[in-house]
């Protein structure tokens, strides 16, 4: 199935815009810097590239336009005729032809100027030639602006054409203007075609889709046609004629029996006879519209005869009214059935072979019988009753029984949307109908009750209550085995521990919040000896032990630093531990040591230095502003600091993808003699 997508055609810029697009593209996509001292080959190449680039861009754009627009010979005859009617085939072809010649001209021009550029002997001459070339190309484009404008209009119109598929099941509505074609269309499909009480409301083809027998049907509403020779027909009527002539479809010929459309039945019947050749080989249906105004039976005998003569030809005449909906469904069904029958017939008749072809495609699968039980379809009693009722009424011919009123109807009766509000609660399905109008609060006791809704809640509550009862009956148990149980006397110790813990916790949190920077590793952190001592004492280490430990570490340190021989004799492990300790001891000690033994202290200092420096850094935050007089100066100082830091910070952000010159002065390029051509390789 060929589906024409005329929406895909790309925009055709008007001549002036076209030039702008092309030239700015050239400017963007080709190099822009050239100097007269460049090698002449380079200059020539620079300009040749510009000319060639412009030429190819124009060529591409033009080709795109030429490709996008459909060739009238290649598309379905319906479409090619429609395009002819709407846009005039000659004009269309001429416009495309002109673009084609323009494209060839530009190509030739580009070629010529590139050839001329080969002999350009100065930048000025090359530049002038380029300028001339581009200018002439632009002139050619401007010369075609009328074609471009026309094509753009065609494109816009094409993209809004209805999507008619010439090969599917199609029903075409035709007849005089104002007979009710569009009204019928609106009834059977969801297309919203304009309906007005004056002729030629519909000025072009409209398509809608409807379902019948699980198949999709395409309904085409056409503009009304008048009864005059083909040459006199205008564009609007010609569209209908095109559709009638080229689409294999079922034709509904609508006749307004009430003659409210302004045309007599005689005229309408004449029209039918005149355009009969268009209907040959197609199923036709004569449809009498507006029968709510005048029924067929009420017509005069001669009018009846006229209509009957047509009906005899097409074997079918039906009435419908778009206002009372009478006959609308019937007409649709009849039309669809007729078309379906016709299509099947055509398929069968095409070639004898194809029948088998079709039949072999159909396979009716039948399940094998398992047993002899009857498994009839089950239809509920209520449905059967209802069906019977409907059947009875249909036989009686009485107007259909009062249907169940829909909510929408009720709403309309009571003043429409906004005035009447339907009672939703009426239809609630609850265990107890009395509950329907109970007010359920959304928030109860400050809580959203929706959070607590649980269909199982009753059951769970029951279980919980049972469990509680069981517990109450049981004697009191000792929970010491599985939980921490605290004796009376340990109570205050426990309290102390807990409070201390919480203090630690809070301190930690405060710290974390305050120091929003990288955490120093523990070993680099500055150590406050007094704080350690205090903390240890708090934890319950008594002073004596503390002193003892301290003195021991001191002596050990001294032993390392003073008596080398002895320290060597001790195990390596003890030595290293002593170093660790030494590091954790406060700064003052280093000073002491240095005074005591400057040579030996040095060895410790090497490791100590780091801890010192970190300490300085942490202190500096407070020290920074100490020398400044007032707040103003401080602010200025801070600002200056930030400014100085910025460049450093920027440098720190250098990423992997950034340009990097690993070695800015490679030795091999900056040493040795430079002779000719030895700039980058020596």
């Amino acid at each position: 199935m060929v589906v024409y997508n005329f929406k895909k055609i790309r925009v055709v810029p008007p001549g002036k815009d076209f030039v702008d697009i092309i030239l700015s593209k050239t400017q963007r996509k080709t190099p822009t810097v050239v100097h007269p001292q460049y090698n002449i080959h380079r200059i020539r190449k620079f300009y040749m590239r510009k000319v060639k680039f412009t030429q190819t861009t124009i060529h591409e754009r033009m080709s795109a336009i030429l490709e996008d627009f459909p060739r009238l010979e290649d598309i379905h005859p319906f479409y090619s005729d429609l395009l002819n009617v709407l846009y005039d085939k000659d004009h269309y072809k001429l416009a495309l032809g002109q673009l084609n010649t323009a494209r060839n001209l530009v190509d030739a021009l580009g070629r010529d100027y590139v050839r001329l550029l080969k002999y350009g002997d100065s930048l000025f001459r090359c530049k002038q030639l380029k300028r001339a070339a581009l200018g002439r190309m632009a002139t050619i484009l401007k010369g075609n602006s009328s074609s471009l404008l026309y094509l753009e209009q065609v494109r816009q119109h094409l993209s809004r054409l209805p999507n008619i598929d010439p090969s599917t099941r199609t029903i075409i509505l035709t007849g005089f203007p104002n007979v009710g074609k569009s009204s019928f269309m609106n009834k059977v499909t969801r297309a919203e075609v304009d309906v007005q009480p004056y002729p030629f409301t519909t000025k072009s083809l409209f398509v809608g889709h409807t379902d019948y027998k699980c198949l999709k049907w395409q309904v085409i509403d056409s503009p009304g046609i008048l009864d005059h020779p083909l040459e006199d027909r205008n564009t609007i009527e010609m569209q209908s004629i095109t559709a009638l002539a080229h689409l294999r479809s079922c034709v509904l010929f609508l006749v307004d029996v009430s003659e409210h459309c302004g045309y007599s039945i005689k005229q309408q019947v004449d029209l039918f006879h005149n355009i009969k050749p268009l209907f040959s080989g197609k199923p036709i249906l004569l449809v009498l519209t507006k029968i709510d105004l005048v029924r067929f039976e009420e017509l005069t005998q001669e009018k009846k005869d006229l209509l009957q003569s047509v009906a005899d030809e097409v074997h079918d005449m039906m009435g419908l009214s778009n206002i009372t909906q009478e006959g609308v469904a019937n007409v649709k069904q009849a039309a669809c059935d007729k078309l379906l029958e016709h299509r099947v017939e055509i398929k069968m008749n095409k070639t004898g072979k194809s029948v088998e072809g079709i039949l072999s495609r159909i396979h009716l699968a039948q399940p094998e019988k398992r047993d002899h039980r009857q498994r009839a379809t089950f239809i509920p009693q209520s449905v059967t009753d209802r069906r019977n009722d409907v059947m009875d009424q249909a036989e009686d011919g009485a107007p259909s029984a009062p249907k169940r009123k829909t909510v929408k109807e009720i709403e309309d009766e009571n003043g429409g949307a906004g005035v009447y509000q339907h009672d939703m609660k009426k239809d609630y399905l609850l265990k107890n109908p009395d509950w329907k109008y109970d007010v359920i609060p959304e928030i109860f006791d400050g809580r959203n009750i929706a959070d607590f809704i649980d269909p199982e809640i009753e059951k769970l509550l029951d279980e919980l209550e049972k469990e509680e009862e069981v517990r109450l009956e049981e004697p009191e148990v000792n929970y010491a085995d599985d939980e921490i149980y605290i004796e009376e006397e340990d109570e205050d110790v426990y309290e102390k521990i807990m409070s201390k813990k919480s203090i630690y916790k809070q301190k930690q949190q405060l710290n974390r919040r305050a120091n929003n920077h990288t955490i120093l590793p523990r070993k680099n952190r500055p150590v406050d000896l007094d704080a350690i001592q205090k903390e240890l004492m708090d934890r319950g280490v008594d002073k004596e032990t503390l002193d003892r430990v301290r003195s021991r570490s001191m002596t050990r340190d001294a032993s390392v630093t003073t008596g080398r021989g002895r320290s060597l004799s001790t195990t390596g492990r003890s030595k290293s531990t002593s170093f660790e300790r030494a590091r954790s001891v406060s700064q003052q000690r280093v000073v002491e040591e240095r005074e005591a033994n400057p040579v030996s202290a040095k060895s410790v200092l090497g490791k100590r230095k780091r801890s010192l420096s970190t300490r300085n850094r942490s202190q500096s935050a407070t020290d920074k502003l100490s020398g400044l007089v007032d707040a103003k100066q401080q602010v200025a100082a801070i600002k200056l600091g930030h400014k100085k830091q910025r460049l450093l910070a920027l440098a720190a952000k250098r990423g992997e993808a950034d340009r990097k010159i690993p070695n800015e002065m490679p030795k091999h390029l900056f040493s040795g003699k430079r002779s000719i051509g030895k700039t980058d390789r020596r």
Binding site: Q27, D112, Y113, R115, L116, K118, Y119, D121, F124, R125, Q128, L129, A132, A133, R136, R160, L161, P162, N163, A191, D194, K203, S204, L205, F206, V207
Partner: protein, 260 residues
Amino acid sequence: MPQNEHIEQHQRRHGHKPDHWEVQRKKEARVHKNRSKMAQKLFGLKAKLYNKKRYTEKVQMKKTMKMHEQKNTEEKNDDAIPGGAVPVYLLDREGMSRAKILSNTIKQKRKEKAGKWAVPVPKVKALTEDQMFTIVRSGKRKKKVWKRMINKVSFVGENFTRKPPKYERFIRPMALRFKKAHVTHPELKATFQLPIIGVKKNPQSHMYTTLGVITKGSVIEVNVSDLGLVTPTGKVVWGKYAQVTNNPELDGCINAVLLV
């Protein structure tokens, strides 16, 4: 699926947004602001183009305005000058216009006289040899320098055969050979593309004339048989002289004015 004039249809059915016209009006009123904002921001080529466009627009606008104004002002009508006896104080009114006509005719005559011997491009800039030629080195070691390639556009007759390339002293490259010229008829004010018959005179030098080099100011002979010009004796003119008015080597085409 919207089809056909769906936008218009929608507008017909539902109208516009309540403030549509107000918004439209304001937008229109703000146009000049947006325009000036853009004009201030643009620079370089874009600015040049934009300014040129605006300039032409403004000129056009002024012209139309003037035209409207003229419609309203009363124009002096020559026919309205009363005939017959005219009072003295009105006598010299027509004399003025007659004097004007007289002076105009004299000027016209002078111009015509001067035009008889003048050509459209009376003076040309002298070209040096190295602008005219490039030296082509030849010989096995490329040490012979007697060959020249002509740098300018040239006309080469149809039945010209090259000398054997080895001995060819002046090379006229194929790319720079032209066969047609765009010739303007100064009185018809129309331009035609005509085939060149030959180079009559190159003002630079006699040698260039014989070589068929066409530069600005050269006089060429063109085939005007298509124009259907007729001599006073009734013969159809075939060839006519025209002077080149542009630099063909810079423009890639030959523009000439017919000498009549």
